[in-house]
């Protein structure tokens, strides 16, 4: 069976909801157009980088003409809305169509090449496009670009009014749609085929994956939202300049993708915020700003080739461990009476080779029974048994490391059946339990068996 929880039930749900709420509320806190402009830029970069991840990360196609999709969207909007005089909204929708058409053309050489040659042919394609744009000055404005491109309006309301609030929400909407699109795609049959082709090309083909079709679809799918974003950008800034073909723009987008972490979808979104905000903080430093940012990019790539997303997950893991440790300590300290009520005896920490564990030790009798609880459980599950047997036996139970109120263990050493058996032996020694009966439930059963197998009856 496939375990695929719906998005509402994954760990990512609440962070995404919170981030969305913050993004929706931000314009009320930042009314200056400049800050809103930065936020819109962040959204544009986020769309560009996360969709690039589709071809570059998931598809393994190092497409350096990705920014050209954006440029095509930009110029399509400019030419259609200004020179042809199409309705701006129609022009906006036309942009991704042309971007997809270019992606389909690009697929022809990309399909026949591999490795570094894909990088080179896509650079060449982007440059060819750049030269075409520059040479067709009558339509594109040549090297100086187009100005006064029509803006977007909704029944006479300019999206740029009220401090660009309309453009802000439009760009936010684009990011949301783009992310939903990528998320769904990655989990679809097409997404699986894309990843399969990247992981092991010939194996994928032998399983019925058509290399040509999937590569083509990957490139086309990765062109849709950059094309839209390009058109949006044209409507928003009202200029289209061939600078978008430059290495600078490509470098920033690529660093957002790589710093965020490839094949993650979320990584580039986070990195777009971090890098754009960082660049903005340094805005007053001119050329040194670019140097600092470039140096930072090198530093991150050298120290952490996996990207920010991987780093965040590691920190998240650390945070979880810290949190559970603190709650366990807090409960040991302040909720002892609750547990005493349940078990009829106070628990205390006993030191073992695998760290301290919380132990209940009660009842009287020559024969001891040790109760070992199961995975994700705690010693208090045995409270009924404690009630029942307290008269006849000495009863001992404990929380395995990282369970109940025992402190967390070291993940490399302490969470294993062998370690649990060792803990039981340490307890037998230190509490002088002689030859106990060991009762194990579920995972505890394995621990008990392991204890027995070690010849310590």
């Amino acid at each position: 069976m496939k375990y695929a929880p719906s998005f509402q039930r994954t760990n990512g749900f609440w962070p995404v909801v919170i981030a969305l709420c913050i993004a929706a509320a931000l314009p009320f806190f930042f009314t200056e157009t400049h800050i809103r402009h930065i936020l819109i830029l962040i959204f544009v970069y986020a769309i560009l980088a996360s969709n690039w991840d589709l071809s570059l990360g998931y598809g393994g196609i190092v497409n350096f003409a990705h920014i050209a999709f954006f440029a095509i969207g930009l110029y399509t909007y400019g030419i259609a809305a200004k020179i042809i005089g199409l309705d701006p909204w129609l022009a906006l929708l036309l942009a991704p169509v042309l971007a997809i058409a270019f992606a389909a053309l690009l697929a022809i050489p990309v399909l026949r090449l591999e490795g570094i040659y894909v990088i080179l042919v896509t650079i060449a394609a982007a440059q060819l496009l750049f030269q075409l744009v520059v040479s067709q000055g009558d339509f594109t404005g040549g090297t100086s670009g187009m100005v006064l491109i029509p803006r977007l309006e909704i029944v006479g309301y300019r999206l740029s009014s009220d401090g660009r609030i309309g453009y802000y929400y439009l760009s936010l909407l684009l990011v949301v749609f783009s992310t939903v699109f990528l998320y769904k795609l990655e989990r679809s049959a097409l997404g699986r085929a894309i990843k399969a082709l990247r992981d092991n090309k010939y194996y994928a083909i032998s399983r019925g994956v058509s290399e040509g079709r999937i590569r083509l679809l990957t490139l086309c799918a990765s062109a849709i939202f950059p094309g839209l974003a390009g058109a949006f950008y044209g409507a928003y800034l009202r200029i289209a300049s061939p600078d978008v073909f430059g290495l600078g723009f490509l470098t920033i987008t690529l660093s957002i993708l790589l710093l965020g972490g490839i094949s993650t979808i979320w990584g580039p979104l986070i990195a777009a915020v971090v890098i754009t905000a960082f660049a903005e903080i340094l805005a007053d430093y001119g050329a040194s700003r670019s140097i600092i940012i470039a140096a930072m990019i090198i530093a991150v790539v050298v120290v952490y080739p996996g990207g920010l997303y991987a780093a965040m997950q590691e920190i998240w893991g650390l945070g979880t461990r810290l949190r559970t440790n603190v709650t366990a300590a807090w409960r040991r300290r302040f909720q002892a009476s609750l547990r005493q009520e349940a078990m009829g005896v106070k628990d205390h920490l006993v030191e073992t080779r695998h760290g301290p564990v919380s132990v209940c030790d009660t009842g009287n009798g020559d024969q001891t029974i040790i109760f070992v609880h199961g995975n994700s459980s705690c010693k208090e599950v045995f409270r009924r048994q404690f009630d029942e047997f307290a008269g006849q036996y000495r009863l001992v139970t404990f929380d395995l490391p990282g369970h109940g109120v025992s402190p967390n263990g070291n993940p490399d050493e302490d969470y294993a059946v062998e370690a649990y058996a060792e803990i039981i032996r340490n307890l037998v020694d230190s509490l002088d339990l002689k030859t106990p009966i060991v009762f194990g439930w579920s995972l505890g059963g394995y621990a008990a068996l392991e204890y027995a197998a070690r010849g310590t009856p």
Partner: protein
Amino acid sequence: MTPLLAVRNLTKSFGALVAVNDLSFDVMEGEILGIAGPNGSSKSTLFNLISRIPFGADRGEITFDGERIDGQSDHRIAKLGLIRTFQREAVFQSMSCVDNILVAIEQTSGARGRQAERMADEASELVGFPRNFHNLPAATLPVFYQKQLMMTTAVAQNPKLLLLDEPASSLVESEIGWVRETVSELNAMGMTIMLIEHVLPLLMSVSNRLLVMEQGNIIALGDPAEVTRNPAVVEAYLGQPA
């Protein structure tokens, strides 16, 4: 019986090396054709040429299930029901095991969603791939289970002709038992199988016929017991008698 696969005058050279030399043979519907031969005798290359993965032949005709396939594209051949496995265990390492199986199902049968998942369960059942491994990352599996998973993905495509390239290599005795049982079971269900194997006892026990290759040529083809007594075969394996 009609031949399911008919190979005629198949030839492939790598530069000066003639790897497959004018090979012709038939595979009958429902049989297990064992293929043996010393290292480098072009057994795997033969599979490559038939499946066109990663390359096709220089010359020759291949007819599969009444249809010429030597001009068809690689993934089309797979979709026709001619499925191969690889000598080195192959997995889609970034995906979970069940996704590995689902890719195969979705791309060949067009099934989606629950239906595809059910088919994945059935294939796992058939091959004996543990279902509780389904949500593990495929890259973390030990070699034996990776081989099992590769076999499961192949079976999930519901092949008419299954080309197995050394499924038992680097396995221990009990695991080879699994290969023997699975191959027999699949064959009993009506699947035609070509099996390359160096483990001779296994090959002898499951094959209906045995084909022995040496340096791109067929040196013997027929009943397994007879083939192993063939002096040319003995010589190929043990060298010239002194």
